[in-house]
């Protein structure tokens, strides 16, 4: 396979897997609630239905409301071209590093928040305000965790970090590495709107963060946003899985290696999804003004990660 083809293949694979990941987490949560639950492929059916439905747009909304879903979706898909999903010699590794990933995701958040403000609904404004607050407070943790990772790997480029851990497996258990993993895991919960920061299954507007911004969306626009949200979760899980424990990732672009890479990727996603489902079963949502406490705790983890890499240099 040509290395340049790997980018589109990765994007397509991520698009394909993302709804399944969300469905699998929901299924596992249902099982933990002693329910039989919807099958893991339920989100695909929901997306199909939404794409076929009518779109109702607020009379107060402007063009930005209609453009935002495409920007949110597009920026997230663009990220999948950069993250090490399947193979380590990434074709677009030179195009962007971990910081680009963070900022591309911020681009999506930015436009989604604007779209939340656009129809003039109080819920949308509330969601936008909270989403940007959480995003801003998660930023330092992310930066320091990247710092800790990059320092031991000698690069901020994702392919390099993965390759470095592959080459020196003891690195994966180094304290800095483990702490950075924990920090990014907390950031993942915050950025993808999972418990304890945001409840993806809530119906109560006043407790919402992500949902409050998309209350106005319907039909294909909603489908794009939901898909992008699933994709964002997949991107974070891939970072957690393939930067910190890249085993299974293909070193050469042979069919066998790629197949194995897909398989291990799915397994890692399911394992992380299982952890998230367990966490969500165990803990309640935090009050909004206690979210900063959680994020400062994650910041401490990231800071200790950096300190640990200082100590061991």
């Amino acid at each position: 396979m040509s290395p340049w083809l790997l980018g589109p293949v990765q994007a397509a694979l991520a698009l394909l897997l993302a709804p399944g990941l969300v469905g699998a987490i929901r299924w596992m949560k249902a099982r933990l609630q002693n329910r039989s639950g919807a099958p893991p492929w339920q989100p695909y059916l929901e997306l199909r239905k939404l794409f076929a439905k009518e779109v109702v747009v607020s009379n107060n909304a402007s063009w930005l409301f209609r453009a935002a879903p495409f920007i949110v979706f597009g920026s997230t898909v663009a990220v999948t071209l950069l993250v090490p999903l399947l193979a380590v010699p990434l074709p677009f590794d030179g195009a962007g590093d971990l910081l680009v990933v963070v900022y591309l995701l911020l681009l999506g958040t930015f436009f989604l928040a604007l779209a939340g403000l656009d129809p003039g609904s109080p819920f949308g404004g509330m969601g936008a305000s909270r989403e940007m607050t959480v995003a801003a407070l998660a930023e330092p943790t992310m930066a320091l965790a990247i710092f800790a990772l990059a320092w031991s790997a000698g690069s901020t480029n994702l392919g390099h970090i993965a390759a470095r851990v592959l080459a020196t497996p003891t690195e994966a258990l180094a304290p800095g590495h483990v702490l950075a993993f924990a920090a990014i895991f907390v950031v993942t919960l915050a950025e993808t709107g999972r418990l304890p920061v945001d409840n993806p299954a809530t119906h109560l507007e006043l407790t919402m963060i992500h949902e409050a911004m998309v209350l106005e969306y319907s039909g294909r626009y909603l489908a794009l946003i939901e898909w992008a949200a699933a994709l964002k979760l997949l991107v974070f899980f891939t970072l957690l899985g393939n930067l910190f424990a890249p085993w299974g990732i293909a070193a050469a672009l042979t069919p066998g290696a790629l197949l194995w890479a897909v398989l291990t990727l799915v397994l890692k996603l399911l394992a992380l999804g299982g952890v998230v489902a367990l966490v969500e079963t165990h803990i309640a949502k935090l009050r909004l003004f206690r979210v900063p406490e959680l994020l400062s705790a994650s910041f401490i983890l990231a800071l200790l990660a950096v300190t640990a890499s200082f100590l061991l240099r």
């Binding site: 249902a30 609630q33 002693n34 329910r35 039989s36 919807a38 109702v56 949902e211 319907s218 079963t281």
Partner: protein, 170 residues
Amino acid sequence: MGLLSKILRTGIVTEPLGAGDSEVVHLVREVDAEARRLFGRALGIREVDSGSCNGCEIEITGLMSPVYDSERFGFHFVASPRHADLLLVTGPVTRNMEVPLRKTYEATPDPKLVVAVGDCARTCGVFAGSYAVAGSVDSVIPVDVFVDGCPPEPTHILRGILTALQSGRA
């Protein structure tokens, strides 16, 4: 850890499709098949309480409980009518809820269905004639199916949703 072991000890409590009351099983199978055909097995339900005594709400909550677990048919309750395919309306329509009910109906994108749950929704029940009541649900928005009962059981509500799906207005 206590929680986990309790989860494991309890096991899945959802009523399986194969056992139990044969009528319910039949119904449930039918709902499954219809839901698959009409909404791609993904139905967003928006609950509207237009003035109910909350008896129907308790039964509707039962639908989401682990025992009935309507999620397994792809039904899920949504936070906004913009995300909904079906409105589940309860209670007589009070004067204060008349406009909101109509607005909810308008806010829901096509194709959409309306299921009115409970006796009050059809006849206004004991509230009929009250100065605070505007009328039955179908006097405000078009209704596809009425589910009778005070309150109706979750299986009846399921049947109502099924009938609405079969009515094929969608």
